[in-house]
C-alpha cells in the first residue's frame, strides 16, 4: 500500500478511533491512542489487504491500547469491568442540573457497562455492522445483539424517566 493510498483509505478512520478512545480515556490520552493506532496500521500496511475490514482492525487495536493504558496507569475513575465516567462526560447530577439533552444522554451512556457502551457506540455512532462489532469486542454476533438490545432499552427507560421528571417539574 502506498503512502497516498494509506492517506486516502485508512487515515479517515482516525476520527472513529479517537471517538472510541474517548469512551475509555481522557482527551489527551485519546489523541495519543489515535496516533499510535495510525502508526501501527502504517507499519502493517503490507498486511492490511489481508484483513476484511480495516476500520474494525483499527478499532480492535484502539480498544486494546485503551485497555492497556487503563491497566498500566490504573486509570482514574476507571476499571476494566465498568469504566464509570470518561473524562469528558458529566456526572448524572450535573447533567440534570444543566438540563442539557446531550449531557443527559452522555451521562446515561457513560453509566452503561463497558461492553454495552462500546457496542452502542460502534453501532449507533460509528454505524458498524454486527460482524465488525463482534470482532472488536470479541463476542459472537448474537451476544452483540443481546447486549445492544439491553443497552438501548436502558437508555430509553432512563431518558423517558428523566424526561417525565423534567416535564412534571416544570
Amino acid at each position: 500500500m502506498t503512502q497516498q493510498a494509506f492517506i486516502d483509505e485508512v487515515l479517515p478512520h482516525q476520527d472513529k478511533v479517537y471517538r472510541l478512545a474517548r469512551n475509555y480515556l481522557s482527551n489527551a490520552d485519546s489523541e495519543d491512542v489515535a496516533q499510535e493506532v495510525m502508526i501501527r496500521l502504517w507499519q502493517k500496511r503490507a498486511e492490511l489487504s489481508g484483513y476484511r475490514s480495516v476500520p474494525a482492525l483499527a478499532m480492535v487495536i484502539a480498544r486494546n491500547l485503551c485497555l492497556d493504558r487503563i491497566k498500566a496507569k490504573g486509570y482514574q475513575n476507571s476499571s476494566l469491568n465498568g469504566i464509570s465516567e470518561p473524562a469528558h462526560h458529566q456526572t448524572p447530577a450535573s447533567a440534570l442540573e444543566a438540563k442539557d439533552d446531550t449531557a443527559l444522554a452522555l451521562s446515561i451512556i457513560s453509566q452503561l457497562p463497558e461492553q454495552q457502551r462500546i457496542i452502542v457506540h460502534l453501532r449507533d455512532v460509528e454505524e458498524m455492522e454486527y460482524e465488525e462489532i463482534a470482532a472488536v469486542v470479541k463476542m459472537n454476533v448474537n451476544t452483540v445483539r443481546v447486549n445492544l438490545s439491553r443497552a438501548r432499552k436502558t437508555i430509553r427507560e432512563t431518558m423517558i424517566k428523566n424526561y417525565n421528571y423534567e416535564y412534571h417539574g416544570n
Partner: protein, 200 residues
C-alpha cells in the same frame, strides 16, 4: 414514513434486529421537525448520537499523525528488534555447543597426560602398581594376625565342657534331693510300723 412504521422499526431497533439502512431511515424521521412528539425520548437520544459522531480529532493532531507517517519508515527485518532477539539466541546456543564440542574433543599434543592432572600415564600406572603391592603386604600381615585368634577356639571347647559339668552337677543335686525325700518317707513308714527298716 408513518407512526405505525416507526413503531415497528423502533420495536425491532430495541431488540437489536434492525439493519443499518432501517436505522438510518428511522433516525432521519425522528430527527426531522415532522416527527411525532410521542417519540421525543428517541429523538433526544438520536440527537445525541448524531452529535457524538461530529466529534473529530483536532486538526493539530491530524497533522502530527500525517507528519509521523511521512517520516516513519518500515525497517528491514534484519534491523528490527525481533530479528536481533532471535539472532542473539541462536548465536548463544551455537557458542555453547561449540564450547562443549571443544572440551570433548580437545587432546593435548605431545604429552600423554591425564585430564585434570600433571601426571603422565606411565607415572599413574607405576602408582597403581605400588598401591597394589602395599595392599598385598597389608593382606599378608592381616592373615598372620588372625593365627593367635585360633587359640580362642580351645577356650570355646573348654567352655562347652564346663557347661556339661554344670548339667551333671544339677542332675546329682536332683538325685540327692530325691534320696532325701525317699529317706524321709521311710522314716515316716518306720514310725508307723513295728519293724525297723534298714536301708543299705
Amino acid at each position: 414514513m408513518n407512526t405505525t412504521e416507526i413503531k415497528i422499526l423502533l420495536e425491532k431497533y430495541y431488540e437489536g434486529r434492525t439493519n443499518l439502512e432501517e436505522e438510518c431511515q428511522m433516525k432521519a424521521y425522528l430527527l426531522s421537525p415532522k416527527a411525532d412528539p410521542q417519540f421525543a425520548a428517541e429523538a433526544r437520544m438520536f440527537g445525541h448520537l448524531a452529535k457524538a459522531k461530529q466529534e473529530t480529532l483536532p486538526t493539530a493532531v491530524k497533522e502530527k499523525i500525517l507528519h509521523r507517517l511521512q517520516h516513519t519508515t518500515v525497517l528491514p527485518y534484519y534491523r528490527t528488534r525481533q530479528f536481533w532477539y532471535y539472532a542473539t539466541g541462536i548465536a548463544a546456543t551455537l557458542l555453547i555447543l561449540f564450547t562443549i564440542a571443544i572440551s570433548f574433543y580437545q587432546q593435548p599434543a605431545g604429552k600423554d597426560s591425564l585430564a585434570g592432572t600433571n601426571y603422565t600415564r606411565a607415572e599413574a600406572q607405576a602408582a597403581v602398581l605400588q598401591t597394589q603391592q602395599a595392599l598385598a603386604y597389608v593382606g599378608t600381615k592381616f592373615t598372620q594376625g588372625t593365627k593367635p585368634l585360633k587359640e580362642l577356639d580351645k577356650l570355646q571347647n573348654t567352655q562347652v565342657r564346663m557347661q556339661k559339668l554344670g548339667k551333671l552337677h544339677r542332675n546329682v543335686k536332683t538325685i540327692n534331693h530325691n534320696m532325701d525325700k525317699a529317706s524321709e518317707s521311710l522314716k515316716e513308714v518306720e514310725k508307723l510300723s513295728k519293724f525297723k527298716i534298714v536301708v543299705n
